[in-house]
Symmetry: C2
Subunit: 508 residues, 2 copies
């Protein structure tokens, strides 16, 4: 049941007076439950509980943390249709997506349970003593990874389950031994509370300390800022806009004790389509990319917002085909009215720039909060002259750049900001200088895809989801996949330690 | 030969007019060579060269980078007595230390050469495709580590070789594939230039691109700030004071594109000596610690500046013995007059605090720039009441805190700032609650030592040299040992890549 209250550790609390409601974007009406913004006292209590829970939770065995994570997965499944309905009513996303995303969330939780059920993930190393080494003896040294402390996770607007309350950030942090305080996304507070209730149930059933998890609500930045500035908070995870992520990064960097912020932010995910690829399979490519651009109403962080081509007769046909096919896909609902407003405004901004052409247009009225997909095009020279066009338009929007030649294509890639992904669409024996292309792209992205689409982020050890700023605030870590646990730990060495005091996995 | 000029890539340049000289602290006179501060143009040129060198250097094979690192080691050895004499004349440190530190520097270079001579260090992972997976096929994903780009290294004052021009930061960054620009420490500019000449010779002999290394000089903060703020610099390494490291961290965090700063800063390296240990072996402990406190004139980042005991009759005897033995060791020269001034001032600051007692005192005059070792003592209650006493006094100084009981001892540990190391001196069947002690200490340090001394930092895979802020700006990385290479790299994924385009080590 959705109560509208915060989970301060195991307790539902709502002593404040500021409330907000979520919105059903499909119906364009407010949902009924008022959600209570956490008070300063409630925030303080959640952090103190987390800090005190850390003392015992960091010593809970991997097997028991795995039990906890698996119990969270079970409890989320037990929420059944109540969760799916809340998800749909707060996101405008269809049932299939809700069920799929729940599956991903469950899979992530169970993957981290598997990961920490033994000690292999800790990268343990042992250097044994050499007592007779000259000129000085070598001491016994053993290194492992230990958790940082309480972590604050900001839920994403575009993944109410998989990157939110019990999403990848929370699952990886809890797996590592860090308590988690989630700042729920205001626009899916009900979904958040339901998932939080599942986590709390799981914590109680598996005997985890009170404070290992809290769910804090609030609109605006006050609550989040208070959490990030609290001296007992030791790291932050965030998925969202560049402005939001940078604001948190700045707050964290300005603390007396700076803490790491892992913000996964904007990306236009450039896709390079070579002239040879267009000559060989323009039809197939335009179909595939019309699908990728509109997938999930274009609301994926890996949405292909920028297609880089070399100009030519075939290129124009490709662009026109792409536009025709993209527009032909039925408009879909966006996550909430603010997202729709941003999409319209930012799309219009780019389209208003010198040389940008809107290719085709959906005719007739579009329902409130539904998005009219847009394919735009510009010459490479105009694109290079105007950094405004590099900006992400969050939604089903793509700008196709027509470079005059291969050199200009490389110049454009070199001038891009950091990106989560880069994609190369090319033929087996493509005439383009592939080495130059890969080198240029590698410098700007975290993952490079060959003849595929950037959408679809596999949860596996080899996934890198993160890239040079502003794709992420810290390109040295991934937000997806089992390696994302590395964000919440630090190496720790034991020197000349008695066997009895060494942790499991480091004993002689 | 020492020319006083900067290495801007392979070229010696000195177009500026600001100069400084180094000081022979033992003789308390200036050395003769004037060193030219790099001009804005020279800094710009060094960064542009590094950025352009990165394009080819990052693709140089591991075997060839290993050749380069080994050649640097060879060329440093070839500098022979010229280097040892410059080192001694600029640091006041004795010949044995100079030779020892050169050995450590060579060892570090060769360790990183070994590390990167194959691809194992890249933590490569492979997830092969599952084309028939339902509901969606799994794509082939392969992950590796790639270098970040040009790195700026700030040389340490206390290790003119091992943490300076060709020290651990430079060796690990060059090993990873990042070009390096060193900001030389003003007080050992001659030593720096000699080592820089060895690196440049090695780069030329092994065919590395011009710009893979530069050595920039200057006094004050202007030159360093310009380097850290430059958009083409991608990471920073620093060893020194909290004020200096934090200033660089702040500059880097305020950039349009924030970059990581690995600053290894202050630490008082608390040593807990249990009552049982004092009862059992007070004599041996006071001898060992008098040696550790005065080692290298107390100018090690792991110097034991804080001894935590529980009060009692044996404790007083131990403290008096420790003071007597420490004072009995001949005063040694400090690195330069500023360090000596800081030592005197900061030592006096702590000694002037309420309840702090100076135990014994060296009688008679001390030569200029030589340090009079100091052992001070204070009650746990007075220590807790006054954060001023937590500060590091860089030099042969230690504050012995007498807690009233075990609880107060734990309270003191919990209230400490982050530290590089913590040490426990205890008996095999000590009556102290060891679990509580280890837990409290682990939360505050990066390395914990049992029945040893914190001084002596082994270069090996299991070493963690770094701890919670302000010991380091980023506790998730080590500044010593082969894992320090991880500071300069980021993970990178290849999805569905043709075999021919995959790097060595990721091919099918």
């Amino acid at each position: 049941m959705i109560t509208g209250k915060n989970y301060i550790g195991n307790q539902l609390k709502a002593s404040g007076s500021i409330t907000h409601k979520t919105i059903n974007p499909k119906l364009n009406i407010e949902n009924s439950t008022p959600f209570f913004e956490a008070t300063t006292n409630e925030i303080e209590e959640a952090v103190q509980l987390a800090s005190s829970a850390f003392k015992s939770y960091r010593k809970v065995s991997g097997e028991r943390r795995a039990e906890f994570l698996n119990a969270i997965a079970d409890e989320i499944l037990a929420l059944d249709t109540e969760l799916i309905e809340a998800y749909m009513s707060e996101s405008g996303l269809p049932e299939g997506r809700a069920i799929g995303e729940r599956g991903r969330t469950i899979f992530q939780l169970r993957s981290f349970a598997d990961l920490v059920s033994n000690e292999d993930w800790r990268e343990n190393t042992v250097d044994t003593a050499i007592p007779d080494r000259a000129p000085l003896p070598k001491e016994d040294l053993r290194k492992t990874l230990i958790p940082l402390g309480p972590v604050v996770v900001f839920a994403a607007s575009n993944f109410p389950l998989a990157f939110s309350t019990a999403g990848g950030d929370t699952a990886s942090a809890l797996a590592s031994g860090c308590p988690v305080i989630v700042k729920a996304h205001a626009m899916h507070s009900g979904t958040a509370e339901l998932v939080a209730s599942a986590i709390i149930k799981a914590a109680e059933k598996t005997g985890m300390p009170n404070g290992v998890f809290s769910n804090i609500m609030g609109r605006g930045r006050t609550v989040g800022a208070a959490l990030v500035k609290h001296s007992k908070v030791k790291a932050v995870g965030f998925t969202g806009s560049i402005a939001g992520g940078r604001a948190l990064f700045d707050l964290a960097a300005q603390r007396d004790e700076p803490i790491p912020v892992f913000a996964e932010m904007g990306s236009v995910n450039p896709v390079i389509v070579t002239p040879d690829a267009i000559s060989a399979r323009s039809e197939q490519l335009s179909t595939t990319y019309a699908g990728s651009i509109t997938l999930g109403t274009g609301q994926f962080c890996t949405n292909p917002g920028l297609l880089l081509t070399v100009d030519g007769e075939n290129t124009k046909t490709f662009i026109n085909d792409l536009a025709t096919k993209t527009i032909a896909i039925d408009p879909q609902c966006m996550l909430h009215p603010n997202i729709k407003d941003g999409f319209v405004k930012n799309g219009a901004d780019v389209t208003a720039q010198n040389g940008v052409e809107l290719i085709g247009k959906i005719e007739g009225d579009i329902a409130a909060n539904y998005a009219a997909s847009q394919i735009t095009s510009v010459s490479g020279t105009d694109f290079l002259a105007n950094p405004k066009m590099h900006q992400e338009v969050f939604g089903p929007f793509s700008l196709v750049v027509r470079s005059k030649d291969e050199d200009q294509l490389l110049e454009i890639i070199n001038g891009l900001e950091g990106q989560l992904t880069g994609t190369i669409i090319a033929e087996d024996n493509d005439n383009i200088n592939m080495e130059n292309l890969v080198d240029a792209l590698q410098d700007r992205v975290g993952r490079i895809i060959f003849n595929g689409v950037p959408t679809g982020v596999e949860v596996c050890p080899s996934m890198q989801h993160g890239g040079p700023y502003p794709a992420s605030t810290d390109s040295r870590f991934t937000a997806v996949g089992t390696d994302s646990i590395k964000r919440w730990v630090r190496p720790f060495s034991y020197q000349s330690f008695p066997n009895g005091l060494l942790p499991k996995g480091l004993k002689h």
